[in-house]
Symmetry: C2
Subunit: 116 residues, 2 copies
């Protein structure tokens, strides 16, 4: 599968709110995720750890709105722009825009990197 083709399918699933399906379909078992900031879970290694982190995130944030745009592709990497309107548990509601970078190898997403 061409990177641009994989990117288009991934971005369409994300835009439809089907994050789980995107992950199950396209993540490598060895997926690494890299946050921009240091701290707990700033890096995860392996699909199971990434899924556990995602579950934790969804349990601890109330999402009011979500919009995504992309993909933007270059070589083995594609980017999706995400706008999230969210309240962290016990925190204040914030609107944030971030760009997520996905690196592809052997037809699977092997790295997810958060830019903000």
């Amino acid at each position: 599968m061409d990177v641009r083709e994989l990117a288009a399918d991934y971005a369409a699933l994300v835009a439809a709110g089907k994050m789980d399906e995107a992950a199950m379909k396209h993540w490598s078992d060895d997926l690494v995720t890299i946050e921009a900031m240091p701290g707990e879970m700033s890096q995860t290694r392996g699909k199971d750890e990434a899924l556990a982190k995602a579950r934790w995130w969804y349990e601890n944030h109330e999402i009011h709105g979500f919009r995504s745009e992309g993909p933007f592709v270059n070589g083995d990497t594609f980017l999706i722009i995400m706008d999230i309107d969210v309240t962290p548990k016990g925190g204040k509601r914030i609107s944030m825009r971030e760009v997520v970078g996905y690196r592809v190898a052997n037809d699977k997403v092997v790295e997810e990197r958060y830019f903000y």
Copy 2:
């Protein structure tokens, strides 16, 4: 200089339309640029080649509007979202959105990568 600090300065110059100043101040002599599409000038090597390409681009495109947003930072890399309203010489006016990725090493931008 911290990557986030360099990124903020670079993005502020770009947002002010001061592309030249951003290049002169922050590009490494060994800067590599990588377009998303194959073709002539799809990669340049060295600051001089990148500047020649930029000059060619400006001479062959009429810019009607430009807006940028960012930086979005992770590790050694920052991204700037660019909206360009442009007419290529002899072509049709188009509005395009692209994301440009900049990788930093030793306080200089060493790689520029165009995503679209």
